[in-house]
Symmetry: C3
Subunit: 250 residues, 3 copies
């Protein structure tokens, strides 16, 4: 079953998350996203990629009920894949634009932050790294990627507060590059993608590597330990109890 | 003799610097602060720590007249301890809130910056890394911690100018999180501590480690060399002459 | 032939780029700048250095027509020297103030960014890392130096857009410290240089090292690879064609 809808138009590919009402991320979503990005990587006719969601959600994050019965080893494997995916996107040699059509929470926020540019709808949609509100932690890579966009102090503020930010608020502190009315999302994303797609590809890929590789390499040295701690906290009694109460209706 | 007053109320500990009029830091202050933090570390009933001063000073920094007769080896030992203390606080697994009740200068500013959040009084109180004004330098750890809060360019501005900032100014550029009237300090700190104390402890500790460990580890590789240079400059003729003129009345 | 005019007044040295109408950088300019800085380094009577240009340009960047016939090995040697020069200036133990008298583009922007403080004229003058507009990339060191001044997100914005910024715009986002009317440039630079020149020299050099060495060392580990990629892109057919069209009238 496919949870990532792919379309290509005028040299720009769109990957659309489509899994239930909230586009919750499970291992299949990660595998499929990785495969789709990989498939487009060598296609010279594709000059930019858009990542978006369906409905009122970009992505609500991990599909917590789906993972609830996972054994630790299986969940560790999943987390490792997810951490690799956000690094993979962050280092992708082509431009990747997030069209944040709705809520981008926790793992959903991390997916959006791995992109080069975020256009987000104003209104009810929120973006947040809210892990602390249910007692969970994050990855080293996700921490470093957020630091890249908003600096250390604001990354701390996001992680310690778990606050939900509107597009306007997130634009204010640099996480969102363009906050637009929902009816303007498509046109704005189209213009932005077009601007990125016109860039000379080898130069773009080289500049992106200069900007990003030090960030990713620093995080990579610590990621295995960070994932082990993530799992220990996730399987602690208190967090298990919090997770049990989380329902994703789809 | 105790220079750190400790009180615990409703799961929140307060460490209050109390040494003369300006809470100048000497080796005993460092040893006592370290011991008090260490004592609270394993106490599960303590969910947050406040660090504050007495009177018109948070801390004026190192007790320069007290150190004036120190031999280089002894001063090096002290500096190493101090550099370790600010890293220790910066990495402390529980929330540490600075209630900046008055001036926080040089080493006093470093102590405040090692905390997770600073509430500072408006009015005459100033915060500053003014070492350059008497010809001294700082540590690698203190440099990296300041970079964490305000970025590289503003850290340079602070260090090269040695400027004294009001709470409002420091809030503007991100060193202070909350600037409040002196009469509101206690209530504001109490609310902030309460907010931090409610966070799920393992998640908080993990997030703090993700945010801080790369900062501390980068600095640690250079700290011994930085301290050696600090000492060489401190014992140069010109700086000795500057230091001799500094009096701390208490 | 000398392309760097040197004058010393009241303990402050001025290095003035003077090569044609646009002060385009070639290997001789790099060698001469390096030699002049090195000559002033040990001169205790010189307490600060100003780097400036002549006419309407600080520097337009690399002299592209001049390099067009270069063999890859020769261009690689030049790039290595240039990358070393901007690190050398960035780590120079004395204050270096850029008096940005006009356009500072690409390599010209890098030279200005290696200085400790930039005063730039308002009006038509622009500052830009516009390499992507002709399909070229930059260095690791230049990337890290720009990150030091404006953070990762804004460095990306500059590099991916290749935008031309006025002094006022660049002051807004932190690349320029003082934007002044052309007629005020000399007096403002003089005041700023004087302020830096008064700082206690060993303390200044030590603080600068604490601030800068981690930046330079991180970049240095990647610079050889970055230069190799720079050369590969520079000698690709598409970029060769772009470069061929660039004329520098002098």
């Amino acid at each position: 079953m496919s949870f990532v809808e792919v379309s290509v138009e005028l040299g720009c590919a769109e990957l659309r998350l489509s899994r239930g009402k909230v586009n919750a991320i499970n291992e299949e979503v990660v595998d499929q996203l990785h495969a789709e990005f990989e498939g487009l990587r060598g296609d010279e006719s594709v000059r930019a990629v858009t990542l978006t969601g369906t409905g009122a959600f970009f992505s609500f994050g991990f599909d917590i009920p789906w993972f609830y019965e996972f054994a630790r080893e299986d969940f560790t494997r999943y987390l490792t894949k997810f951490a690799e995916l956000i690094n993979y996107i962050f280092m992708y040699p082509k431009p990747v634009i997030a069209a944040v059509n709705g809520h981008a929470i926790a793992g959903g926020c991390m997916l959006a932050s791995a992109c080069d540019h975020r256009v987000m709808v104003t209104g009810k949609a929120k973006i947040s790294l809210n892990e602390i509100t249910f007692g969970a932690t994050v990855f080293q890579g996700a921490t470093e990627q957020m630091r890249y966009w908003v600096g250390s102090a604001m990354t701390q503020e996001m992680l310690f507060s778990g606050a939900m930010y509107s597009a306007e608020q997130a634009e204010q502190f640099g996480l969102i590059q363009q906050a637009v009315n929902p009816e303007e999302l498509k046109a704005t994303v189209s213009q932005t993608v077009d601007r990125f797609a016109r860039l000379e590809q080898p130069a773009f890929a080289s500049l992106k590597k200069l900007l990003r590789e030090p960030v990713v390499e620093g995080a990579a040295r610590k990621e295995a330990d960070a994932i082990e701690e993530f799992v220990n906290i996730w399987y602690s009694d208190g967090v298990r109890e919090n997770l049990r109460k989380i329902e994703i209706r789809d």
